[in-house]
Amino acid sequence: MSGYILELQGITKIFPGVKALNNVRFQLKPGEIHALMGENGAGKSTFIKVITGVHKAEEGKIYLEGKEVDFKGPKEAQAAGIAAIYQHVTSYPDLTVTENIFMGHELKKNGILQWKSMNRDARKLLEQLDADFSETDEMGTLSVAQQQMVEIAKALSTNARIIIMDEPTAALTKNESEKLYTITEKLRDEGNSIIFISHRFEDMYRLASKVTVFRDSQYIGSYDVDSITESDLIKAMVGREITELFPKAKLKIGEELLKVKGLTRTGYFKDISFHVRKGEIIGLTGLVGAGRTETVETIFGITKKDSGEIYMEGNKVTIKEPSDAMELGIALLPEDRQKSGLILSWGLGRNVTLPTLGNYVSNGILDEKKERDASKKYLEEVDTKAVSIHDPASSLSGGNQQKVVVAKTLAQDLKVIIMDEPTKGVDVGAKAEIYAIMGQLAEKGFGVVLISSEMPEILGLCDRVYVMCNGRITGEFSAEEVTQERILELSMEKTKSSSTENKKGEVV
């Protein structure tokens, strides 16, 4: 009836105590690439799970090619031609690529698996995607980008016509993202319809013709990518104008705090040297996999260095365990806050006081009142949206969880704070608040090391920027000289195979 291949109307999905989707709608045309954007917790992931049959909506209807459908489970949705590729690749590391592709719908004759045919079909799919690995490789030996390609092959093998991608470029390098863009466009040209969720505007501009925005579990609107401005899009996602994203204060820079010289860990990074001074925010940027996280984890004492030196306020120091680093005044906000930054089942208060338990001990016993008061203070300082310090950390949104981790760090006696991708998966509103906190930290005389892959952050916040590529520092810029192009250039590997020429004949 309508010209849409997929249409959802009035979808409401309720979990105990939470309305995850409130009367949302969505329309997808055949052969369209459609972006789905919104803050964390806006309902995008839940929505995808409703489409793929993982969740069943309490209200609303789904129409596939004009006909109403009611999926009883993911298998039915898959049979109807809908496939999803999630951010965290769910694959079988011990099994081969072929097995991963065909798991659940293997080719059989009289109950016996037909390995020859499956391998052959898998090979064909991989060739279609221009893959650089074989169908007999073990899944666990592949890189994240390669595994994602297998996921796409899997979707194709089920004859999916609607392909949904959840944050497809989050873990990819620039080159790998380019390859993904090419594959996605090819899929569209072959008649598939694609929905993708992303926090990156560049993904949207590059691929999508239409974008739909959700906010607070509600449908806000659908727009043509060509006609909406970025600030209007942000306003739709956030509900308010974000003007002063980055603090503008220019501060006095003091003496050297942390200095790293010739730091090396075989196979991860080599000869890393940088320093950060009081009141400075330095950026450590580069592509995913450049070795930034590994570097700071070694500085913080999580892993051991093979050679090199670390100095704190001019003195050479040895850091073997995180507690050594903390004693020196170095704190690390880890990249994965849920895995390494928080104990999700605990209340906020106890999360905040975990690194500093010694401060609340008298006569060997923990003074719980002192602890509660202290955690309240730190949580309020970063403006955490919570009712009580006993709220479980799992109940908070991504942005708020990150604030709790920040509060936890501030509770320590610090000189240098290292933040690893602090705004990853954080909505625009909370991002601004975190930037403000970083500015305040610099103002107070701390040294801040910011690891980030987001250009706007690096360009907007940092006094100096180091670029890493393939485990080495390839460049250092001051705030005045740094540009996006220069960073990009130094972030890329200088091998012939990875460079491509753009329209002007320049090597990109």
Binding site: K75, T90, Y92, D94, G104, T141, G471
Partner: protein
């Protein structure tokens, strides 16, 4: 993920290494004791280890789905005891029926364990620890402190001596079982699902695989094999006692560990288990030849398990280190 991945790539050749070690061991033993590789000697060794080898097949599947079962010998004892009592009081004397009953009892034991683990979400080590005592206790209670001796067993004990197509019955059953499992694990969807559940149970759920059902069936099969093993043990040793096979669950696990089955699930093969079980059998035979009393058998077994798993870790680390060196920075 990368670290584990490299290790796994390397352990595929573990089976080749193991086979070579096994052959080497046999050669050394043959030199020290020329009667080792005679038909009778091999026949005896296989017969005495057939039950363990059978149980190891079931343990393979249990380990593959990421579980463990330390109640296996208790289930065998219970089934064996029931067979013995049925014979002792002349209730049932048909050999085939007795085997079926034993397998049936084993399956019931296994189903119970499977339900507790998959539906009750009790950790396998805890569940099977509890059932180890429950089933063993039941064996004692049923027997009421009595044995079934050779005289009581009548014709049943002759089963272990009989042959079919020239091969000893007991060994034949083991061989057939290994062939069946080999085919199922490699060539049927069910077998691959076992690997899938062990490799990544979340992915399995998303693929629409009913992980709970797979686990339930795996423990049931384990139970059935235990029942079969219990009945066979009664025939082989011509007696049924409640303390049958006490402490031998370690032999079963050792056979799997040596055979390259991963304790984390998702990795392992029927051929690996075969080599591992044979290796254990050969080592046990070799011990007295090196002057180690059979009383030290358990200690040696435990030490071997420890050495194998530590060696695995060390090899994995060294392979990983080498791959790191190859990364050009």
């Amino acid at each position: 993920m990368k670290k584990e991945a490299l290790f796994k790539k390397m352990s595929g050749s573990q089976e080749i290494v193991l086979t070579l070690v096994l052959i080497l061991l046999c050669v050394i033993i043959q030199i020290k004791s020329p009667s080792f590789l005679t038909m009778t000697s091999i026949n005896d060794m296989l017969k005495n280890n057939a039950v363990i080898m059978l149980l190891a097949l079931g343990m393979l599947c249990v380990l593959l789905v990421g579980g463990i079962d330390i109640s296996v010998t208790s289930t065998s004892a219970l089934s064996g005891m029931i067979v013995g009592l049925l014979l002792k009081y002349n209730i049932i004397e048909n050999t085939l029926v007795l085997f079926l009953i034993a397998i049936g009892v084993g399956c019931i034991c296994g189903v119970l364990i499977g339900v507790i683990i998959s539906k009750g979400k009790v950790p396998p080590i805890i569940a099977t620890m509890g059932f180890m005592y429950i089933y063993r206790g039941l064996a004692y209670v049923l027997s009421n402190n009595q044995w079934a001796s050779a005289a009581d067993l009548g014709n049943f004990k002759n089963f272990a001596l009989g042959k079919f197509l020239g091969i000893n019955n007991v060994i034949l059953i083991a061989v057939i079982s290994y062939i069946i499992f080999f085919v199922v694990m490699k060539w049927t969807a069910y077998g691959r699902k076992i690997y899938a559940v062990g490799s990544n149970s979340e992915a399995a759920a998303i693929s629409g695989i009913n992980a709970a059902l797979i686990k339930l069936t795996v423990y049931t099969i384990m139970g059935g094999l235990c029942g079969l093993g219990g009945a066979l043990a009664v025939s082989v040793y011509s007696s049924a006692q409640p303390n049958m096979m006490y402490g031998q669950e370690m032999n079963v696990i050792a056979a799997c560990v040596i055979g390259g089955v991963s304790m984390n699930g998702g990795r392992g093969s029927v051929q690996g288990v075969l080599i591992g079980a044979l290796m254990m059998a050969v080592i046990n035979k070799a011990l007295p030849l090196v002057g180690i009393d059979s009383i030290a058998q358990n200690t040696v077994q435990g030490a071997i398990i420890m050495v194998v798993i530590v060696l695995n870790v060390l090899m994995q680390r060294s392979t990983f280190k080498n791959s790191l060196k190859r990364r050009e920075m």
